[in-house]
């Protein structure tokens, strides 16, 4: 199984303490994940995402023997295009990390930029040129349980659709979308969605009814969420076995060129 969206580090609103990268790997491996696309969660609130990306890269390079043998990480650095210098920083990271980087993530609501911003378009074109998917984090945490002084609405779905329509050649992964948001997101063929926040009566069967099974990806949103419940979403009708296989790993392989 491939986890299309998880995080390294400590989420300040969680009771979970600091977990090492190897510890994160063990936790995911216990849930059945063998490969994870990981971003630094500190970058959600920290003033400089680039520093967080460099720290994550160093951690990945220094993983010790406690890392499960049959597990690996790919990096999805966080870019804040509202900050000057992001182009140089991203290019430097891509040159340094090479194939360790599998995609680029933006967090528009926490970083307070609009998806209609020209700099986002520039990043989308850059992703297309580099053959990397652009991952758009809609929410990190259920809005109902936000800190009362830090209420951050989810990213507007229409703005994601507009961006996807404007850049049809850029592959996009929407992270943290709810089940109810799937039908609208389905209208843009270059949009993929990970299922860490998607849940319903029979999660995958319902999701597949409104969204192309070839564009849905397993994700855990660790360490904000526990991993086992996300993996349990793959428990569905045996007739959907082929779709489950795609969602568990095949679609991530195609999207991220793993």
């Amino acid at each position: 199984m491939i986890d299309a969206s998880c995080w390294w580090g400590q989420w300040p609103f969680s009771i979970m303490g600091q977990v090492s990268l190897a510890g994160t790997a063990r936790r995911l491996r216990e849930a059945g994940v063998k490969h994870a696309l990981i971003s630094p969660i500190r970058a959600v609130l920290a003033p400089d995402a680039a520093t967080c990306n460099r720290d994550l890269l160093a951690e990945v390079r220094n993983l010790d023997a406690s890392m499960p043998e049959d597990f690996r990480f790919s990096l999805v650095p966080v870019v804040n295009p509202a900050l000057p210098g992001w182009r140089v920083q991203l290019n430097d990271l891509l040159d340094d990390a090479g194939p360790l980087v599998a995609g680029v993530k933006i967090i528009p609501n926490y970083h307070q930029f609009d998806l209609g911003d020209g700099r986002v378009s520039e990043l989308a074109r850059m992703c297309q040129a580099r053959n990397l998917p652009l991952c758009i984090q809609v929410r990190v945490q259920d809005e109902r349980s936000h800190h009362p002084l830090l209420k951050v609405p989810g990213v507007d779905i229409q703005s994601i659709l507009s961006l996807a329509t404007t850049h049809p050649g850029t592959r996009m992964l929407v992270c943290g979308a709810y089940n109810a948001e799937l039908p609208r997101l389905a209208t843009a063929p270059n949009i993929h969605v990970e299922i860490s926040f998607v849940e319903s009566i029979d999660t995958l069967a319902v999701a597949i009814a409104s969204f192309d099974a070839k564009r849905l990806l397993l994700a855990t949103n660790v360490p904000v969420h526990d991993p086992a419940p996300s993996v349990a979403k793959l428990v569905t009708d045996p007739s959907l076995a082929s779709a489950v296989q795609d969602i568990a790993s095949g679609n991530a392989r195609r999207l991220f060129h793993l």
């Binding site: 259920d142 109902r144 849940e199 999660t203 086992a228």
Partner: protein, 260 residues
């Protein structure tokens, strides 16, 4: 035995619908869930402020579930504490004393701190049946007269002889667990919101393994996902068995209304 202490139906008109029921049973079977506790029907049941007719219809559905599938469904009597106490007590007689129901469900119609709950709670104590009450701490606004875990603690202290199931562990969060630590008659169900990391472990650490019970909030949620919140978090088989069914079995046994 795995007991899911928190399910609903969403059947049109609160009418018994065999297709909905078979879907529920099929999904429960697929996930190894033996018994499901029906609380109230989500569709056409009066929303936050149901009228007596809605209450009766939702409870009629619950009784029919138990009558048709006594080995799979347990039902609670849905009530609105703002209704005339005579109506609520008569509904308890109809559904629990003279019917097959085994508990009481209260949602958001009246806050748990309101004295209008007291006649219902006193009757629950007499009958030794549990009361499952909704609770949540919300950053983005409360629904109608929605209760918080602090309100549930207030209710529990007013009625220490009533076993109370406080719904939605992840909705109440850390503060919600702390709120009920000193209320031994309250257990918390694991349903609600996203699988917030560490919450099941936290509840067990602070409340003890006998005060956490498995609930799914099906069909709003997925049995597989909700069960995995428990199985993924608890590695001790004895504790896991308590949370998945043992605790609820103990709570239900007191009234003698259900044989498990």
């Amino acid at each position: 035995m795995i007991i899911d202490c928190h399910i609903h139906f969403a059947s049109a008109g609160c009418e018994y619908n065999e297709t909905d029921v078979l879907q529920c049973l099929h999904l429960a079977d697929r996930n190894g869930i033996d018994r499901m506790i029906y609380l109230f029907n989500l569709a056409d049941s009066g929303g936050y402020d149901p009228q007596p007719g809605h209450i009766r219809k939702s409870n009629d559905l619950g009784m029919e579930l138990v009558t048709r599938y006594p080995d799979r469904f347990i039902s609670y009597c849905y009530l609105h504490p703002a209704h005339d106490p005579e109506f609520s007590l008569a509904e308890i007689d109809r559904c629990i004393v003279n019917g097959p129901m085994a508990g009481i469900k209260l949602w958001v119609a009246v806050n748990a701190t309101d004295a209008r709950l007291d006649p219902i709670m006193r009757r629950a104590a007499e009958l030794r049946v549990p009361v499952l009450h909704h609770a949540w701490y919300k950053a983005n606004g409360y629904a109608y007269n929605e209760s918080t875990p602090k309100d549930i603690a207030n209710l529990a202290r007013r009625h220490p002889d009533v076993p109370i199931v406080m719904a939605h562990l992840a909705g109440g969060g850390v503060e919600g667990v702390y709120d009920i630590v000193d209320c031994p008659n309250v257990v918390v169900d694991t349903s609600g919101a996203q699988p917030i990391a560490g919450m099941v472990e936290f509840a067990i650490e602070h409340l003890g393994p006998d005060r956490v019970v498995f609930g799914s909030d099906w069909p709003l949620r997925d049995y597989a996902v909700q069960k995995a919140r428990v199985t993924g978090a608890i590695h001790d088989p004895a504790v896991r068995d308590l949370v998945l069914g043992g605790n609820m079995r103990r709570i239900l046994a007191a009234s003698g209304k259900v044989s498990l």
